[in-house]
Amino acid sequence: MTERRVVITGVGAVSPLGEDAASTFEGLCLGQSGVRTIDRFDASGFSTRFAGQIENIPLLPGAWSETASRYEAADQMDRKTRLLLSAASEAWTQAGGDDRGARSLGRPERIGICLGSEVGRKLLEEVAQRSVRFAGIPTLQPVVPHLPIGEMARMRPSHPGHVLTSILGTRGPNRTVSTACTSSAGAIAEALYLVRRGTLDIAVCGGTDALVEAFMLSGFSLLGALSSRNEDPQGASRPFDRERDGFVLSEGAGVLMLEAEEHALARGAPILGYLLGAGLSNNAYRITDSPPDGTGPMISMNAALDDAGLKPEAVDYVNAHGTSTQMNDLSETRGLRRTFGAHAERLRVSSTKSMTGHLVAACGAVEAIASLLSLRSGRVHGTLNLKHPDPECDLNYLPDGCEDVAGGIGVAVSNSFGFGGCNASIVLGAP
């Protein structure tokens, strides 16, 4: 089977830095932080009281809005699905799609969806209601009448993808990848394989997550994974800094339109860049930690470069997973050194999360988009808050902010690593 080249014809993002991909990237280049004190609920009793928050979710275009309203009316539109629709509509429109849905871009059975998404988080209020009203009752049976009808829909990781297919009318594979923080990078990899081997002409891929909610904030806080720098929220996410103390919970969505090159050329679609390869690995180590020697990340980066047919020296820029936790940043640095050898000294490496916080299931997609926009513009954003370099994290993380690279950059790698030992690396190329 002849493998096809895969291009990117549209992107969309919603993040704490902006309501679309361009404004998100602009915020990154300006070194802005999307992290602030939580005001969506009373977080005063929490050990962490800040997060990356999206204030306004952009309005949806005509037909999208109509369908979304029906789901909202039926209490089946959760926040992560709504974020996804905003990012997807932006990407869909940029790729040339319109209100006719899948038929506006090709044959519906040749267009599919691959999204990274996690289990819907229950709202604290819902759990609290049950806890209080039914405490001491040995069975949940009496609870049933009080469960909202959309409960099951909102819990399903696949819900965002199924709402999207109901809007677009796609008939190709519809997949949900649930691998924690690598979910959306894993979904992009899946989409790449589907388009490359000819199953699909177009794949709508990416991910979404909305974790800024009391129930999840309490869980991650008790796990000790979050920064508690409450006195300085915007300085809390500080990847590779020796004073880092955990990641910052955030929310958002990112969507990329992947397309077979010949299909895109035939319909005159804009070619924003190339998705050259992807690599996945598992640490088989611990639930929450990466191995200190960086083996898992190294395997995924090597696999991605092999898949792209590139040598390490071809890479100009790495968008790091860079969470601001002690172990991730150390493990990733060592993985980068083992993958790139002497070339690691010449790499530009930066962390999007230093400004957006951690979008969890959506981070891989938004960071892939940031990498793509760097390839297109020659501008590479920096790593915010890196003021006291960790001597064990000793690469060029662009602590001084955005860099305009003379002559531009040609190849970027975007990393995502997650709970459960999942690692995903994707390789993007300039148009």
Partner: protein, 377 residues
Amino acid sequence: MSSILGVGLASPLGLGNDLSIQSWIDGTTGLRRNCRWPTEGFPREDAGLVEGFVPRKQLPDRKAVKLMSRESQLAVFAAVEASQRAQLENSDCSTSPNRMGAFAAAGYEVSSLSDSESMLAAARDPNEPSRILLSRLFTEGRDAYNPLSPLKILPNMPLFHAALALKVQGPHLSLGSSPAAGLVALGEASESIAAGDCDLALVLGSDAQVEEFRAQLLVEAGVLPILAPSEGAAALLLGGDAHSPRVLAWDTAQEPIEGLSEDRVAGYGRCLDGGETRRALYSRVLGESGDVDLCFSDLWGSEERDQAERFALSNQPRIKGTLTSNRSRMGWLGAAQGLTDAAIASELLRLGRSRRALVTASGLAGDIAAVVLEMPT
């Protein structure tokens, strides 16, 4: 062409491959009285339970058991059995861990919500018990909460625990909770081997629906009372072997499904095209493979969904055998469903009871998949 080197099963039909397959051959049902919670007034009093499973005694790492949800425990059991059946040295792939992949379909565990409820109950306002005080979550509530609980609900945990048990470090994929996802995982594992990304692949399907909250969700989805809630896991170890059952063809698609209605959640409705998308999918898969003499269909008793399945399977000249379905004997296995059917089909091929088998599965929201397995001559 990927071959199935070993199969592990923890199903309502029995704990372990031998017991499950023998029960299937004997025509035994896997449904029995549900003893997990009081079922008086509940739509069904039976459930598909994996009996005789004692995780602390039967899993390789006793300490890890407490970190696992039920579906993770079942998944590890099946994964270890599959690797043993495949006669991998030391039951793992430690000689080249990055050349072995792991591909999973898993449900989502919600039992940890019970842990959270304890925390929330402890955080009640003493003066007004109907209120939860967030300020008490980190004082009174903290002691009632296991910080690792939230991690249990992550859908990739069965894959993680199985990968850890077998030391798998190669490509991985954990797909959402649909019954069809197991067949997609099987297909993608086969593709990954064919593409040279790995030499061996562990394929997992696991779910644990015999949990009160999840069972209530099945009521909402219209699965109950048609099928009983069930639990189980299947694992297939794929590699290259000319003498084992192999994955001959597979494909997947999305069919149009009914949208919203007042009493149904989104996408949990009838198929809108009468089964045309399924029919095209099955024709494609069968067209690539040849005649099949065994068909594990997706028929499960839902009139509106079965109509589409019957239409899609009717007048398929490649289907020579009888249409069967395992759903009525094993209940609603969720994400474990498709792969459990494939695992049983693979063992029937190995036993010479079939030459070529079609397995189909669909999710309630319209994702469909089909796989053809074949025993080489």
